[in-house]
């Protein structure tokens, strides 16, 4: 027969101090792991959510991001009439030529950061259909106006709707706030491409083009045609892949965090094992009685494993709650967290613990509970009733 779960649960509660300490250790490990994991995951989420599956990114061959690419006007004029490119109702090709510049901005906290300023033509909003003007309106070309991403308006000085935003040694009037569903565009500022080129004194007016592929057209064929064109050294990548590649470097960070989490987890596991061994020792006579009453070895093993697992899961629940609260507190206190991006700008990430971020910490907790409790549970199961009762 099996021991009821309540035996494990009540035993866990009985040895108060010991359980509290063990729960605290595991909970802290869960919090530490969750915070780090969420941080990287939030970064990835921001990057991966950027990009539309119908778009291509065209840059100079060899550029890894549109912050370091430079393209000529002639290239734009040639490419925009390629077959396979979507057109707007008026028949104009949906090609958005863009210029990326990274001026200094100052955060509300006084830090100096490079922000991605994207010089665009009006069709940019159509090509980047995930980007919407949430408040205010799009800028009027050649009017010294700018629209800023949601995060930019919250993070930098002079970036609120209606403010005069200073960068590039001049003022720009903020006339709209951009929203893009949490993607990296919310960390950008959009202005008129020509004004920006003038301001930054760029010899070549554009960094890259974003192209909307026509419905039913072959995206790969179009990309190949652009890449093969002998006149310009261009390369076209699906926009989704472009952002995914930018986010790839975060993978190494994931692995580093995972490694650190394993380290912490093993430490916590040793702590849990310690506690379980003490539990077995303290309840030796009790185990003897249970065995004498007829409970099998297996049921003792499972009962102790269950107790260890329950402790770990209980700790996980506390840790998860604490991480969620801590993340909110950190976000409230520090605002977004800035990561240096390949584009030589700042990816601002809002630290948030999402449910899927808790999967790894949960797995870690279960491992701590099961592996930590295994040997003590086996030791308990191996006790002979006679010895156990005599020891009492």
């Amino acid at each position: 027969m099996a021991l009821p779960l309540s035996y494990s649960w009540r035993s866990m509660l009985a040895r108060g101090m010991r359980t509290v300490f063990t729960v605290a250790v595991i909970a802290l490990v869960v919090v530490a792991t969750t915070l780090f994991w969420s941080l990287i995951a939030s970064l990835k989420r921001t990057l991966i959510s950027s990009g539309s599956p119908d778009n291509l990114v065209v840059m100079r061959k060899g550029a890894t991001n549109d912050g370091s690419s430079q393209l000529a006007l002639e290239a734009y004029q040639a490419i925009r009439f390629f077959e396979g490119i979507a057109k707007d109702p008026q028949g104009n090709p949906l090609v958005s030529p863009e210029l990326v510049v990274q001026p200094f901005f100052h955060t509300n906290a006084g830090m100096r950061e490079n922000v991605l300023v994207r010089g665009v033509e009006p069709q940019a909003l159509t090509v980047h259909d995930e980007v919407k003007i949430r408040e205010g309106r799009m800028f009027t070309p050649s009017s010294g106006e700018a629209v800023v991403g949601r995060i930019v308006s919250e993070r930098y000085q002079g970036a609120k709707l209606g403010d005069q935003l200073r960068f590039g040694n001049r003022d720009w009037k903020v006339v709209g706030i951009l929203d893009s569903g949490g993607s990296s565009f919310e960390s950008e500022v959009w202005v008129d491409a020509r004004e920006l080129a003038n301001n930054a004194k760029r010899p070549l007016p554009y960094s890259g083009f974003r192209i909307r592929v026509a419905d039913g057209a072959d995206m790969d064929a179009l990309a190949r045609r652009i890449g093969d064109d002998q006149r310009w050294a261009l390369e076209a990548t699906p926009e989704v892949d472009y952002y995914r590649n930018l986010s790839k470097t975060a993978n190494t960070l994931y692995i580093i965090v995972a490694g650190l989490a394993v380290l912490a987890g093993i430490g916590a596991m040793f702590g849990a094992t310690n506690t379980m061994y003490a539990a077995v020792q303290a309840r030796t006579s009790e185990i003897g009685t249970l065995r004498a009453l007829g409970f099998s070895r297996g049921s003792i093993l499972i009962a102790f494993l269950a107790e260890s697992l329950m402790t770990a899961l209980f700790a996980f629940a506390i840790g998860a709650l604490l991480s969620w609260l801590l993340a909110m507190g950190i976000s409230a206190a520090m605002g977004g967290i800035g990561f240096a991006a390949q584009t030589f700008t700042t990816n601002v990430v809002v630290l948030r613990v999402e449910p899927q971020d808790l999967i790894i910490p949960l797995v870690l907790s279960v491992l701590i509970g099961v592996l930590g409790g295994f040997f003590p549970a086996s030791a308990a199961a191996r006790l002979r009733p006679v010895d156990a009762l005599r020891k009492a």
Partner: protein
């Protein structure tokens, strides 16, 4: 310390428990060490920048905005400025598909040696740099990363200019960022051949001879260009570097929070073991008191147990951290730019030694209450309860 044998034997009383506790603390200390090496990488850069009198001048709008090259001559004329050179980002790479793997710049060879006198290089290196048009001085870190050595000839294709250039490496620099420097004139000639004008610069670095003159020199430079089309902003190198990596401060805060959580963990691990092992010995401790051992002695020996266990665990943890950071350094060099120098995982003797002290201190802290309680228990009462 005639009680030391007793303390050590008591740790051996339940070897499994001592081992598990020691191992848990060891791993936690290793983790704390590794976490602390992350901000240390940043501090190292900031410290080396703070040590010299170089100042940087750039367009106030940002480093990606250029300044007229003619500014350089004017900066050289400012009182206090001993030497000045300009930097232009070349964005060169050996393999287009890999992107730019290290910073590389076109600079002025005249004055380069003076501006970077703190590198303490053989003057011949700077001479060669001036003499040979295609000479290059490369940072140690980059030489290692790319498998190059002084004397090699390497080729870089620019991702910014439509040119590809070959260079001869004439020297290695100790600069933290491993930058690759070559002659501006070399680039200018290649661009002229392609019909492109080259009369701007990205940054100007100057050396000021007298620290007292730093402030006035910086002010003068900015005033000179105040009404020009490219307004400048001049700051010391340490200010520049501090601003450059300023954003990382937030990440450092989070890392510190996590490190604190892990440290707290250690307290609980140690306290748990201390309270368990002391509670089991209540009867024995009573008898020691009966025999005549005073409260103080009992307290000290019990505390010493926790402290010594934690100390040994701390030493093992520091050792583990040392090995792991070496591994991380290898692996994390591909970690991408997101965390910059934070993933350099530079472990220093200070961090390792501090970790050992932290461990010991935590052991004492954790053992304090159980030890105190046990030492104070009334002997008669204990005997009554136990017997």
């Amino acid at each position: 310390m005639k009680y030391l044998p007793l303390v050590l034997r008591n740790l051996g009383r339940n070897p499994l428990r001592s081992l598990l506790t020691g191992a848990a603390i060891m791993l936690a200390i290793a983790l704390v060490c590794i976490l602390r090496t992350m901000p240390a990488g940043l501090d190292a850069i900031l410290k080396s920048a703070a040590a010299n009198t170089r100042i940087s001048t750039h367009n106030e709008a940002g480093i990606v905005y250029s300044m007229p090259y003619s500014y350089l001559a004017k900066v050289r004329g400012v009182p206090g400025v001993v030497a000045a050179i300009s930097w232009n980002w070349f964005g060169g790479t050996t393999d287009l598909s890999k992107g730019v793997q290290f910073p590389n710049f076109a600079v002025d060879p005249d004055g380069f040696g003076e501006v970077y006198a703190d590198w303490k290089l053989d003057p011949q290196v700077f001479e060669d740099f001036r003499k040979y048009r295609d000479a290059a001085i490369v940072g140690h870190a980059t030489l290692e990363k790319m498998g190059w050595k002084v004397g090699d000839v390497v080729t870089l294709e620019s991702t910014v200019f439509p040119v590809t250039l070959s260079f001869r490496i004439v020297g290695a620099s100790p600069a933290q960022n491993g930058s690759f420097y070559f002659q501006r004139e070399y680039l200018a000639q290649a661009l002229a051949a392609a019909g492109i004008q080259f009369d701007t610069t990205g940054m100007i670095w100057s050396r000021v001879d007298d620290p007292e003159k730093l402030g006035s020199a910086m002010r003068q430079i900015d005033e000179m260009f105040h009404n020009s089309e490219a307004v400048t902003s001049t700051e010391t190198e340490s200010s520049f570097v501090g601003n450059f990596f300023g954003g990382l401060k937030q990440l450092v805060t989070i890392i510190q929070i996590v490190a604190a959580l892990v440290t707290l963990c250690i307290v609980f691990i140690a306290a748990n073991t201390a309270s368990m092992s002391i509670r089991e010995r209540v009867g024995e401790i009573a008898i020691l008191k009966a025999i005549g051992f005073r409260k103080q002695t009992i307290f000290t020996t019990l505390l010493a147990e926790a402290g010594i266990l934690a100390l040994f665990a701390g030493i093992a943890g520091s050792g583990t951290a040392y090995v792991l950071t070496k591994l991380l350094q290898q692996y994390a060099s591909n970690a991408g730019p997101q965390m910059g120098p934070l993933t350099a995982f530079i472990v220093s003797g200070t961090i390792l030694v501090q970790a050992i002290f932290i461990a010991f201190f935590i052991g004492i802290l954790a053992g304090w209450v159980p030890a105190l309680g046990a030492s104070r228990r009334s002997v008669a009462q204990t005997l009554r309860e136990v017997f």
